[in-house]
Amino acid sequence: MYVYDSYDQQIVDQRVAQFREQTDRFLKGELAAEEFLPLRLQNGLYIQRHAPMLRIAVPYGLISSTQLRRIAYISRKYDKGYAHFTTRQNIQLNWPALEDVPDILADLAEVQMHAIQTSGNCIRNTTTDQFAGVIADEIEDPRPWCEIIRQWSTLHPEFAFLPRKFKIAVNAATSTDRAAIRFHDIGLQLVKNETGDVGFQVFVGGGLGRTPIVGQEINAFLPQQHLLSYLEAILRVYNLKGRRDNKYKARIKILVKALGVEAFSTLVDEQWQLIKDGAETLTASEIERVKSHFVDPAYDQIQDQTEALAQLRFNHPAFDKWIQRNVESHKKTGYAAVTVSLKKPGYAPGDATAEQIDTLANLADSYSFGELRVSHQQNIILADVKQSDLFTLWNALNALGLADATVGTLNDVICCPGGDYCALANAKSIPIAEAIQVKFDDLDYLYDLGDIDLNISGCMNACGHHHIGNIGILGVDKKGEEFYQISLGGDSGIEGQVGKILGPSFKAEQVPDVLQKVIDTYVEKRQENELFIDAVHRLGLEPFKERVYATSH
């Protein structure tokens, strides 16, 4: 992974000192609350329902065991001994005291971490595929490009006060899109042209929130050396032209829609021509320098362990299920990528205790070269595990209660913190996730249902990405009462689709039964081996509506 040199360290250290000084001034009453607001937000600090919330950046989801241990330490020292992994591959602490935040940031800086631009109207953490660099099916490792974007966007002087937040995602896989790039302000798809050169297909104006829109292509092939000048041109057009009169219409998607993608891309090209081939043009040596941080770890030359694993799987049915659901094939023979589910019923999706976090760090040291990844589905990945270690690792995870073999199933819920924590939320989301997990707790039944993305958001801001869940649940407020709207058919992958709303919303206690009816309809009407999402697209919403809204006699 990327390791800071003295330049990177200096910038992060100076950011900590700057925030300490700003916090001091605020606490002394020399800085008004509304003026401190954008300054603290640019450093990931929200004032939430119960306490401040600090969002810590995990650049493109990659974290070392040393860094993860520091998170556990901070959560014990300054918080309540747990942390929350987010849908944007970051980490949140829900209970830090404002006065402690400069010290927390200093503790983070010691292990090359920060909270820079994790909120506010600026360029946020760049995200990518949680299996980047270890899957066979990718153009090249996207992480060096994410790091190049991280450095360019960090403390960019011109783009700190944009109309609204700005999110960039990169995908390098050719057959799938785990980074949901078409639902980002800018989506970058690594591609090869006819002559074999690697560049980017650029999408712009995708997003969720109140107005879900699939991003549109504005450049079919951007040569790699022009990445930063092109991003700069897009941001400049957005900073000048994006709406600032209404925060719900301020995202770049609204601008692209209003101008039309043709006119928007003409404006971008005009700006780009001014700076193309300028100082921000990437040099081959810089690209090589960053790539040198992402070379393969010291893999052993070993064979796949198919037969040995088959025996273990036969003897241990639970291990077999775990291999099926939670273990991904690897580009290197003899290795596998393991997803640790953080979706235990009774706990908020994406939450982990300090003890679990410490143990995960130890397991990463023992079995995965000391590195972990956070996925957009709020799980943790050990990406470089020897197949011969899988059974030992499974036993260790089992002891922690982290071996639930539910990845990709209805139980692997994506969920925002919701009304229990978040000041913006209209409705609670965690209890809804729990009620569904309790209703659908039979593993064999879940496996029979196969892959189903269930995404829950507590409000229109869509942090739980409900629009792109195969099943999406949105909390809404009706005259002070919490209701839930259900949508079907959303797809975050390469097909990129927004789900359609089923009909009138439901009370919290009705949601699990409604979901049961949706699932029953699928089970009755599915064709052989047909996934839920494919069945919804084939059947349309009608049969689901009929079942769900049928009046009982």
Binding site: Q10, Q22, E30, E35, T154, P157, E158, F161, A279, E286
Partner: protein, 164 residues
């Protein structure tokens, strides 16, 4: 103007004043005039023996000033709301695209904490809201001694300067 920092120094006797007007008659020297006046009477103003400047708000079209850049010793950008970042880009384009070399001054509702980024976008003078804010701006404006990007002050991004 008061509480003014220019090229890193406190300036006590600055002659420039904002001047609201709808015509070009009887204007005092050292008046910072709205873009509108330059649009309508720019050629007359350019021929005057008196020094005039301009001030630009977020919703103004600063490109109306382009024919007169050589006559403008100073262009002030007046922040209506500190969280509106358009003026950062206006200044950057004025330096980068239109090669303006005169003074770019921040006035209005900006924060001392923004001075560092404003400097990097081409601003050279800062008219702070209070004496306190001026002192804060002076102490924090050069807080960062390293940066990743190129800007109007530093021609090369870090990746072209980094020594391993």
């Amino acid at each position: 103007m008061q509480h003014l920092i220019k090229d890193g120094q406190i300036i006590k006797d600055d002659p420039w004043q904002l001047f609201e007007s709808t015509d070009a008659q009887g204007l005092p020297g050292n008046a910072l005039l709205p873009v509108r006046i330059w649009t309508d009477f720019g050629h007359e103003l350019a021929e005057s023996s008196l020094p005039f400047g301009a001030y630009v708000c977020e919703d103004d079209d600063y490109t109306e000033l382009l024919p007169f850049l050589a006559n403008l010793q100073i262009i002030a950008f007046k922040f209506g709301k500190f969280a509106d970042g358009r003026l950062f880009t206006f200044a950057r384009l004025l330096r980068m695209q239109y090669k303006y070399e005169g003074e770019i001054r921040a006035i209005g509702d900006f924060l001392p904490d923004q001075v560092n980024f404003l400097q990097r976008c081409g601003f050279t003078a800062f008219c702070c809201r209070t004496e306190n804010e001026m002192q804060t701006a002076l102490s924090v404006k050069d807080h960062f001694t390293e940066q990743y990007q190129s800007d109007t002050r530093l021609a090369e991004p870090l990746f072209r300067r980094r020594t391993v």
